[in-house]
Subunit: 301 residues, 2 copies
């Protein structure tokens, strides 16, 4: 186009839920020059006004009809438990050219909601999950580099159009992320193991100790190992309730595998079998250290 | 004593095992002006020579007879698994005026070893456990302030002489530590809950995942929550084998309590009972955050 500037990747972007995750996506795209106009929508007006004040969004839509008019991409960045209501509300106003994606920590339940409410729009829907977060939440914590070198998992539907998948992939890449594809089943299994189960275990340990009569004595002697192990027990209860319920099939499978591991450790302890315990600890340390150093995890004995 | 300087709290200090823990005790006392001469002894010559080079100790004893001649206090700072052999070796040379203490992470097994080898010296023995550590080990990592504001648990024997207990207490206080007294049973129960169990759980989770065929895929999607939760799975396998075996009675009781907690969480998950899960998560978060902020742990519903 002689004399003109190439149009941005996304002309009109709609963010539903402008907090840390949605706000950082907006800022990342803006910094990359990959977006034209950014529209915010959400349950509460106040955070949207703050987002506009901070320059994270350009305008606030008061309803879905207004938000979706001419939209190229919609990012659903609200808690997983709200997805159902959000999709029901947006469905009547969704044109065929608007690509829809989300940031849910679980994927099969989001896809169930897609089938319930957006059954006629499947080709334009591309579910996703950015593996990023920070200690703080809310739009004040958002920053353009949150996704730099972080992973984003796409779980396209069988029906997703290739160009819709490419739009979502390219948008995340513009934010600096590395995009990988998985099936929803694979995604939910992997994150049940490396994220949802550890959260459940940490919540459980703290609860177990906090309910004791001597809780104060116990906690008063807890040190830095306990601090790190239980950091994720400070996570948001409502969010983790939703994740656990949504992903309970995969999480139950992971919990049962772990209970099997603990049964083995219990036998070694009861028998005073130091050699067997040391072999487990050594294998775990080797894998943990390899991972922490970015090396392949050693699984051979 | 007119014209003279008060003698230091400890005229001659013997450290058996001059690494991070023993070396920092030596440096802490030295900085406080609470020690005269510091003698090192250990299995290997090389770390002792390094300790002398660094000024952590003044001299190296080649055997227990030499080390213990005129000693006021002996600190046993070797791994728990070596205590038996150390006490057997030192026993024949231990005079009645030398106070003996240790830094073992478990106390009932150390006290069993005391009874086996130092049965005639019980009044001068005061077992202890400083709750401190650092990422690095070895005498090069030792520093005088390691124990400042850290807790040290004393578990005196029924037979321990009051003046021996006071010597050990005052020495740790001179290093800046807060000293608390417990029975050995209480100590081993508390640390089974807040330290030994979390280590076992972290080792177990990493081992569970590392043994899978898809271990590499799983670890490649693990993020910061997993990193913190499993940090203690990078701990020293031999040290933790010794601790788990030594404290297995208390650790089994804690593991069983935790398995009961997990059984409860498993039922909530299987039933999809989000309210019950959220109540556990909320109670855990409240306790965890209160503890992290130095407030009393809230145990009431």
């Amino acid at each position: 186009m002689a004399g003109g500037t190439a149009p941005p990747l996304i002309g009109r972007l709609v963010i539903c839920g402008v907090g840390l995750i949605g706000g950082s996506f907006a800022l990342g795209l803006r910094c990359a020059g990959a977006v034209g106009r950014i529209v915010g929508i959400g349950r509460r007006r106040e955070p949207l006004e703050r987002a506009r004040e901070l320059g994270v969004i350009d305008e606030i839509a008061s309803d879905w009809a207004e938000a979706l008019a001419g939209a190229d991409l919609v990012l659903l960045a609200a808690p997983v438990g709200q997805m159902d209501a959000i999709m029901a509300a947006m469905a009547p106003h969704l044109g065929a050219e608007t690509v829809v994606t989300d940031v849910g920590s679980t994927k099969r339940d989001v896809i169930d909601a897609v089938h319930r409410h957006l059954g006629r729009n499947l080709p334009q829907v591309v579910p996703a999950h950015p593996i990023a977060g920070a200690e703080k939440s809310g739009v004040d914590a958002a920053f353009a580099d949150l996704y730099v070198k972080r992973k984003v998992v796409l779980t396209p539907l069988a029906e997703s159009r290739a160009d819709a998948v490419e739009t979502v992939r390219t948008a995340w890449q513009a934010c600096g992320a590395t995009v990988v594809d998985m099936t929803p089943q694979e995604h939910d299994g992997v994150f049940a193991a490396v994220s949802h189960l550890p959260h459940l275990l940490a919540f459980g340990l703290v609860d177990d100790l906090a309910r004791r009569d001597n809780a104060q004595l116990l906690f008063s002697h807890a040190a830095s190992g306990f601090r790190d192990f239980t950091r994720i027990a400070g996570s948001h209860p409502e969010m983790w309730r939703d994740i656990c319920v949504a992903n309970r099939v995969a999480l139950l499978a992971e919990l049962d595998a772990y209970l099997g591991e603990l049964a083995g450790l219990r036998s070694m302890l009861a028998a005073g079998d130091g050699d067997a315990l040391e072999a487990v600890f050594e294998r775990a340390r080797r894998a943990r250290n390899a991972w922490a150093e970015g090396l392949p995890v050693q699984t051979a004995e």
